[in-house]
């Protein structure tokens, strides 16, 4: 009995081990100054593209740290954090807090600059009846009215790219294809790269990337090269790929991949310029933030992070035209393929 009791006491004592913080690394504290330090330090250690974004992060610390006091309110702290992240102008940098609109560092996405110049409703008027649309328009494909041209759009880059095969099989005899990546908000670029093999006749190098793998400024993995590889049956037709300032992240990597094909014309506006991989993080008060941990270079050895992928042919809609039911970019793409 005494033995059983001793065992029970030992087991009972050990049950408290996991709840004891003694065995863990100290967690960041939950007060305004510690929250600031946690956010700033995480960016300082893990954000990969300060240079590309032209931001001196130490200067941000020197400017904003004195504004944070022990009695800084949550609203004030959110504003200070937002102001500190503002010059990054990065579509992948966000801050999330209870009851607030998610703060996006990128001005275009945050202020929805010219968001209305892209209209799925207007696009549908260019399609023959019987076009196919996925849930929430994650893909839409069909044939252009009175034209022998196939059209497909992708709202993001995920499983919706599996429909590229169906699209190519449905319209094998058209003159050319319009692939619409405008307002594509990204996802996982591998869905595009694995599915576009039929449009490629040989391995084609697209970009190389390297990711932070340590706390030092120069701690990166070796460069990793990404290519698109051919799959059969090969489809060789003129393609116009549409892009705009809301084409971001994996959407931009998709645009990069199409851009290496000799039969592709990129048309529209310069893309958002945020295409390194991103990660999420949490703060002690439950807020979330996201940041970029990767550098990306195209075949010319240059980074387009913060710059964007430029179209071969720049065409921009106007609000008047869109309100009148005209998508000038679409019409120019049709003209190119006619």
């Amino acid at each position: 009995m005494q033995k059983a009791l001793s065992l029970l006491m030992i087991a009972g004592a050990m049950m408290f081990l996991p709840s004891c913080s003694l065995f863990f690394i100290e967690e960041p504290a939950d007060h305004p100054e510690a929250l600031f330090d946690h956010l700033w330090t995480t960016f300082d250690r893990d954000y990969a593209v300060f240079e590309e974004r032209g931001v001196n992060w130490q200067q941000q610390y020197d400017h904003f740290r004195p504004l944070v006091k022990a009695n800084t309110s949550e609203d004030e702290l959110f504003d200070i954090f937002s102001a500190m992240l503002l010059p990054l102008d990065d579509g992948h940098v966000t801050l999330t807090a209870p009851g607030k609109e998610v703060y996006i560092s990128n001005t275009i996405r945050r202020e929805k600059t010219d968001d209305a110049l892209f209209s799925p409703e207007v696009i549908r008027t260019y399609l023959e009846p019987g076009f196919v649309a996925g849930a929430e328009d994650e893909f839409v494909f069909g044939k252009i009215r009175n034209e022998n041209i196939g059209y497909i759009s992708f709202a993001h880059v995920r499983e919706n790219f599996f429909n590229l095969h169906t699209f190519l099989n449905t319209y094998p005899d058209v003159k050319g294809y319009i692939i619409d990546l405008r307002h594509n908000d990204g996802g996982d670029f591998t869905y595009c790269y694995s599915e576009m093999g039929r449009l490629v006749d040989q391995d084609r190098f697209v970009f190389r990337s390297k990711t932070k793998n340590g706390p030092g400024y120069n701690d990166f993995t070796p460069w990793f090269e990404w290519s698109v590889r051919p799959a059969s049956p090969y489809v060789h037709k003129p393609i116009v790929v549409l892009i705009d300032r809301y084409t971001i992240s994996a959407g931009e990597r998709a645009a990069m991949a199409f851009d290496v094909l000799p039969n592709v014309l990129l048309m529209g506006e310069i893309t958002n310029g945020a295409h390194g991989t991103m990660i999420g993080r949490e703060l002690a008060n439950g807020w979330f933030f996201s940041l970029v941990t990767q550098k990306v270079e195209l075949s010319d050895g240059l980074s387009y992070e913060g710059v964007g992928i430029a179209p071969d042919l720049e065409v921009t809609n106007t609000l008047e035209e869109i309100l009148a039911g005209t998508d000038r970019v679409m019409e120019r793409a049709i003209t190119e393929l006619r």
């Binding site: 996991p18 790269y193 793998n213 999420g280």
Partner: protein, 275 residues
Amino acid sequence: MINLKSVIVFLFNLLLLLSLQAQTESMQSFSVAVGPSYIARQDLIFSPFIHRDLSPINLALQYQKDKKVHQFVQLSYTTFQPERKTPYEFIYDGKVETAYPHYFTLVQLGYGQGRHLGPTGASDAMLGGAVRLDVQALDYQYGRSSFFGYYATLGLNAWYQHTLIKGIRHQLNGRIEIPLVSWLARSPYLINDDPYIENTFSHNGVSTFFAFLGDGHLATWDQLQRADLGLHYQYKLGTRFSLGADWQLRFIHAHKPADLIYWQHDIRIRMGVQL
């Protein structure tokens, strides 16, 4: 170069050899155990915070075969939803959205053998080995974004069991298990990198799982510290059925590519049947 394939082939041959050796007339039993489980997990790849959660349902199944050689196959499954703060609402694009807790799925599969240290039935001590696959699938939620992560080990473990209390109908065993060597696979330093992304290229869950596992490395005690400590009580209800209770404590520490400190407590009620 040691890769995952050669480790699996070695372990398979070892298991085959040991199970052939153990083919004698035997007593077989099957048991189901359920009960609460508690974790405290700090994984610096994902967060500097300790994620704690109590899961009401922790399921463990065990098939056991006893004669001269004691053999067992175990499977356990638990999910946890730790959170820093109560899920809250935020606004994106003018719409209200909810921040969800993280979601961890833990699966463990093990096969083991052991022998009494001394004549069967007379000795209180048993020593053995086990092959154990331990998978932690981690879904970290950060508001609008979520990120998948993983911790997986395929370990060749040693265990020691001692009968602490023995009566006509009841028995209490104490048990400790530690890995001798493990194949250890974890998410990269900052959640994802190019090899990680390449592993997902097939868009097939099984292929991706083995690709992640294949990117691991052989880890000895200096790289992976782990121990499973347990007390297992069994009370015979008759000739066929038994009722019992398990208490188990698991500790894991790995420091590459970033520190992982992990504690798990399981308390389960076990129902057994003699086959």
